[in-house]
């Protein structure tokens, strides 16, 4: 029984994981399960929150069993989640009342255009730090209240609860209809466009602007405190940490000092750089966000460059084009040629995120000739992820005057050595993979472990960090210059592609 551990849940876009970590921050076990994603029309992306909760109920015992542990050996549970994905549920039945709308969904574009046309941009920026965009959760909530029959009245009557995935899971874990705790954490809340980025509280003027009743909102809490105690699974275990997945990865990568940066390569790619205790004010190309707030400590901020498509472009090659049988085999195919054959792919499938932020952009493949084969396409797919990262790094350099020394990477795509080498080449910095690639889970575990005193301080956590692999730049500067120009020209073709409706 002396052998205690920390459990963590990573509720991601494509799958949910549960992992168990020991005191040295080492992985004891991992259980994972994919859930369904529904794309009912172009630009829409939905998931079933009830299905996700069912998965969590199975994954947690599975991870414990794999590690040969008992729930009483779990000192605390931490949660990380896909951010901005919006859930509304019924507090008396405990079921979601509409499909969850995910962060990739662009159905709120009219709503957002209206806000911009009304001249709300400056006000929204001043309060939340964010430009009005379809990316954030607040407009999704408004959409649900407007478009799903009866939801607005029921919300006003206090029958419904709102939240992102962490709120949904914490409420369910702490008993659901029987006394479930309704909270969110400050990193997730900072992505709603409803929170004052300076105070970490819901802002009435934003709630008015989006016409969202306060009664259904969770209360905003720090990233490291006890929110409640699990009822099932993990009966009796405190839930002691919660962060959005990208902030969890930043924390798991121990980016505790200003200037420390990481990029996570999963469905999308998200580069976050720690900017310290002052609220940052970058230009519109990248966004300010809360990195973490531990208990009563002042929050630490970060600047983020969000890239909508990275691994999902690889999945498109696999599932829609059927060019590769598995995602990792893109490397095999790409390595069968020396270069991209002059071909570039800009994956603006649902517009472009950072640093271009053009919701009317659409995907293009340019430079096609008879010479181009599927192997060149495979290379261009990987290069697209590298160059999109480069654009974000350039934007951070221009906006904040910050230059990267190394880039810490994690996520499923880091198993791709060709991609990691490309990244190092185009960024001209060393790219470092840590020994635990599942940094999202690790970060959530770290936050929970700090809260309950399983780990004493940040320095202890930094001490656990080890480097598993490093890629160093090899690309000639002249080639980098030329290729970056070509990439920019390719992006020009993608911008503003969508025609306004007649």
């Amino acid at each position: 029984m002396n052998d205690t551990v920390i459990a963590a849940i990573d509720q991601g876009t494509t799958s949910t994981r549960c992992m168990i970590f020991d005191r040295q921050g080492r992985t004891r076990s991992l259980a994972q399960r994919e859930h369904h994603q529904v794309f009912p029309q172009p630009g829409w992306a939905e998931q079933d929150a009830d299905e996700i909760w069912r998965h969590v109920q199975r994954l947690v015992p599975e991870a414990l069993a794999q590690a040969g542990l008992d729930r009483r050996q779990v000192a605390a549970l931490g949660i990380a989640n896909q951010r901005e994905t919006t859930v509304v549920w019924d507090r008396t039945t405990g079921k979601s009342v509409a499909p969850a709308i995910t962060w990739q969904d662009t159905r709120t574009s009219d709503l957002v255009d209206d806000l911009v046309a009304k001249g709300a941009t400056d006000k929204v920026m001043a309060v939340t730090g964010l430009q009005p965009r379809t990316y954030f959760a607040g407009p999704r909530l408004r959409w649900l209240l407007d478009h799903r029959r009866g939801l607005r009245q029921r919300a006003k009557a206090g029958e419904l609860l709102f939240g992102t995935m962490e709120s949904w899971l914490i409420w369910n874990l702490t008993g659901g209809v029987d006394g479930g705790v309704h909270v969110t954490d400050v990193t997730n809340a900072s992505r709603t466009m409803l929170m004052d980025l300076s105070t970490g509280q819901w802002d009435d003027s934003m709630l008015d602007l989006l016409d969202i009743p306060r009664v259904g909102l969770p209360s905003i809490r720090s990233n490291a405190e006890v929110y409640g105690t699990c009822v099932d699974p993990l009966q009796g275990v405190p839930i002691a940490g919660a962060l959005g997945d990208q902030q969890a990865a930043l924390f798991g990568q121990t980016c505790f000092e200003p200037g420390d940066a990481k990029c996570t390569y999963g469905t999308g790619a998200f580069l976050l750089i720690n900017t310290g205790k002052e609220r940052p004010t970058p230009g519109p190309s990248v966004l300010p966000t809360v990195a973490y707030a531990l208990g009563d400590d002042d929050p630490v901020y970060a600047v983020e460059g969000s890239i909508a498509m990275a691994g999902s472009l690889v999945q498109w090659l696999r599932d829609a084009l059927e060019i590769i049988p598995t995602a990792p085999q893109i490397e095999t195919l790409a390595r069968s040629v020396e270069h991209n054959g002059g071909c570039y792919i800009v994956p603006a499938f649902s517009g472009l995120y950072a640093p271009r932020w053009d919701q009317d952009a659409r995907g293009v493949i340019v430079g096609l000739t008879s010479f181009v084969t599927k192997a060149h396409l495979a290379r261009a797919v990987l290069e697209a992820t590298a160059w999109q990262t480069w654009e974000v790094v350039e934007a951070i350099r221009n906006d904040l005057g910050l230059t990267l020394e190394t880039l810490r990477v994690d996520g499923g795509m880091t198993s791709n050595h060709l991609l990691m080498q490309m990244l190092s080449d185009v960024l001209d910095v060393a790219v470092e993979r840590p020994l635990v690639s599942e940094t999202v889970c690790l970060g959530a575990a770290y936050a929970a472990g700090l809260t309950v005193g399983y780990w004493s301080d940040l320095a202890t956590l930094s001490h656990h960090r080890h480097v598993a692999a490093v890629w160093r730049p090899k690309m000639d500067a002249a080639v980098r210059k030329r290729e970056s120009t070509q990439w920019n020209r390719a992006v020009d073709h993608a911008l503003g592609w969508v025609l306004p409706p007649d």
Binding site: T326, V436, A469, V470
Partner: protein, 239 residues
């Protein structure tokens, strides 16, 4: 069945295969599923019809892609490196030896370099020896027994005897036979149906891998074996 699928000139329905072979549908279903799972038969996602799979063309290879192997193995090999505090290699068969397809640095070590793509000789490395013993697509015996250090085994008889022991106990070791002072322990990685598809090794200073003047540390053999089981399980389920 493979001939019928290959000769049809178009994807076939299950009932068509059953008719052509004059066997009951449930029997054919079981067979075709197995063939599909190992990649010899392709099933169309939309129509569910069957045709010959790419696996047939790559019969001379193990059928497993090294990049798939790395992706499946990454979490487990990371955990192995943190557990043993040693470097981890995953090898794939190559005509001249074991090619390193995945490399995890030794935790807390000094500056290290990725060794992906290096080919380790069959007779002088733990990774190579275990491949000779267990992995499909490796030669029955290496062509040349080149000497790398004083400890390299260069006699065929001695190598044969060692291979006999390795096959019997299921793991191999290396004690300064390739690089003075460097030791390793390796075990096979098994894919679908238990076929050896690659190998997993833990490597580091001889004194960290071996008991003083004795065999490799039991804890290291155990950790490596456990990890291989986890990776193999993941490969089997996804093959």
């Amino acid at each position: 069945m493979l001939r019928i699928l290959g000769g049809a000139g178009r994807p076939l329905r299950l009932s068509e295969i059953a008719d052509a072979l004059d066997l009951p549908k449930p029997t054919i279903f079981g067979l075709v599923r197995t063939l599909r799972d190992v990649g010899f038969v392709h099933q169309d996602r939309a129509t569910s019809d069957y045709s010959l799979g790419d696996g047939i063309r790559n019969l001379h290879e193990s059928g497993l892609d090294p990049n798939d192997l790395r992706s499946h193995a990454m979490n487990w090999s990371d955990a192995l490196a943190s557990r043993t505090r040693l470097e981890v290699h995953i090898g794939f068969p190559d005509p001249d030896g074991a090619r390193i397809v995945h490399h995890v640095f030794r935790p807390g070590g000094a500056k290290q370099h990725l060794r992906i793509g290096e080919v380790l000789p069959f007779h002088a490395s733990a990774l190579g020896k275990i491949m000779l013993g267990f992995v499909a697509g490796t030669p029955s015996s290496p062509r040349l027994l080149e000497r790398y250090t004083q400890r390299t085994v260069v006699s065929r008889a001695a190598l044969d005897a060692e291979m006999h022991r390795i096959r019997a106990r299921g793991w191999s070791s290396e004690g300064g036979e390739l690089t003075p002072g460097i030791g390793a322990v390796a075990v096979p990685l098994r894919g679908y149906g238990g076929i050896g598809v690659g190998a997993l090794a833990v490597t580091g200073p001889v004194e960290k891998v071996f008991r003083h003047a004795g065999p490799p540390l039991e804890s290291i053999i155990q950790a490596t074996t456990d990890t291989a089981v986890s990776i193999s399980r993941s490969l089997g389920l996804h093959a």
